[in-house]
Amino acid sequence: MRIAIIDESAARASVIQEGLAAIDDCELFVVTERRGLVARIEEIGPDIVLMDLGNPSRDVLEEYFVVSRALARPIAMFVDESDDESIAASIEAGVSAYVVDGLAAGRIRPLLDLAVRRFNAFARLQSDLAEAKGKLAERDVIDKAKRILMDTRSMTEPAAYAELRGAAMNSGRRIADIAEAVITAHSLLGGAK
């Protein structure tokens, strides 16, 4: 089976590719370049095309599939009505699948399930990354606020941290929020240099 993965995000494409590589009897082609997309697909002659839903070229590709109905290997969006559930899952995950006419649903389903899992895994990776970045930024903010307290009130570092934590507990807010407030107040009072 020849599978084309079209994704402008090379990182996501490789996560999908890695996942699908486990399937027997599959040849994978990754297309990340937008230019010449249709010509490239024609060249590949895929049985299945996977494309991320955020890709602006979906309309271009779908038009090509409609026009190519006249060709030997027509491709349609995978919309076997009996399989609404798996389409819903794929849209939830952000992937669309196009399949050559006549390919058995039994062969498509496991492949699509796998693609969906890889898309979801990638989305989780991204949100973990965003969370980690957020945590790093928070630590910077807290460090800065501690420094302000240490300088202006001649506190030790543990005392400054205890002060921030105490204020957070008393007001039911997060330490990072209190730290931000300290920094803002400090700069409003002309303390920022």
């Binding site: 230019r35 839903l53 955020g54 890709n55 602006p56 979906r58 271009v60």
Partner: protein, 402 residues
Amino acid sequence: MSTELAIGFLPLVDACLPILAREHGFAEDEGVSLRLVKDMSWATVLDRLLYGHSDAAHMVAPLAIATTLGRGRPAQPLSVPFVLGLNGNAITMRSELAAQLRPAGQIGDPATAGAALAEISKVRMAEGRPLRFGVVHRYSSHNYMLRYWLAACGIRPDRDVEITTVAPPFCADALEAGEVDGICVGEPWNSVAVERGVGEIVLMTAQIWRRGVEKVLAMREPVLEVKRDAVERLIRAMRRAGRHFVDPDNWEQNAAILARPEYLDGDAVLIRRALSDRLLLAKDAKELHYPDFMFQYREAANFPWVSQAKWLYTQMVRWDGMEFNPDDANRAARVFRPDVYRSALLGTLDPLPGASSKVEGSIAGPLAVGTQQGRMTLTSDRFFDDQVFDPEDLSGYLSRLP
């Protein structure tokens, strides 16, 4: 407690009404909370609508009909209770081609420019490199307007010129790379191409059909029934947004809202050009005021005329090579829902026409029409070739078209 409605959209200026209804609090005033879902292709906007990620969507009008008739995907009946606007698109061509079609610095005349283009297309055919145009979707008003104009000028699409799909954000690139000779696209993408110096605006689609239906608010028919009350509130909120949109005092502010990253993520200066009907035809040219370039509010701009749905069906028959089928024509006609629009606005100050269908292209000058409520004067709705579309005689109309 307000009801939430999720609305899918593409980052285009004519997604303005739901965006402004949300941003100015008009929807909240009506007890509807709007969640706007941005996508980058019509295919994805449609998928989200069909699989329930959105309740309603900003959509190219022909796509709502194509989906109902099962073109490209299994048929699912869609309903259009509100038209988001008329026209607002332009045809932008590579500069050396534009220069051969109209006097420099002026907007073209559709018949004259078309005649000149017909000659050029013959030369290009003979050279074995036919003219190529880009449109944003197979089932878009852009495609039908461009084809209407070309065919009426003796240029047969798919035989004399090629027409292909290009995603709006890549239109300027495609012109620059010479992949296409011209594009028919909505704003801000003509202005983006002009600003980059890769093309010049030759025609506005409003010159081809003065009152051509453009984007619609589309919903799945069963969803419309379930959420009918919220949809009627949304319609009232969008009428208010339209009133705000056309007021020159608000252009600056509304352009800035639409330009935000979560909406068009674009340049407020270019967006303002479209809102104010004042475009630059070429880089560094003077602003040209073309009244009703966009038409989002006045007269019956948002009224879903059944005759317009039928016109779209005739164009689908024409360009998809379908057999004319009276059942399909009826299903297409029923997509537009003037009954919902009327019910939403009955008892408000918004005027409602008496009829739900009209002979398109038959109004030459201001015409006071019979109404259900209020007073309404319609102005010219002519096609540039003076053809008239009688919604009671579709096959007759089709047989008269070139």
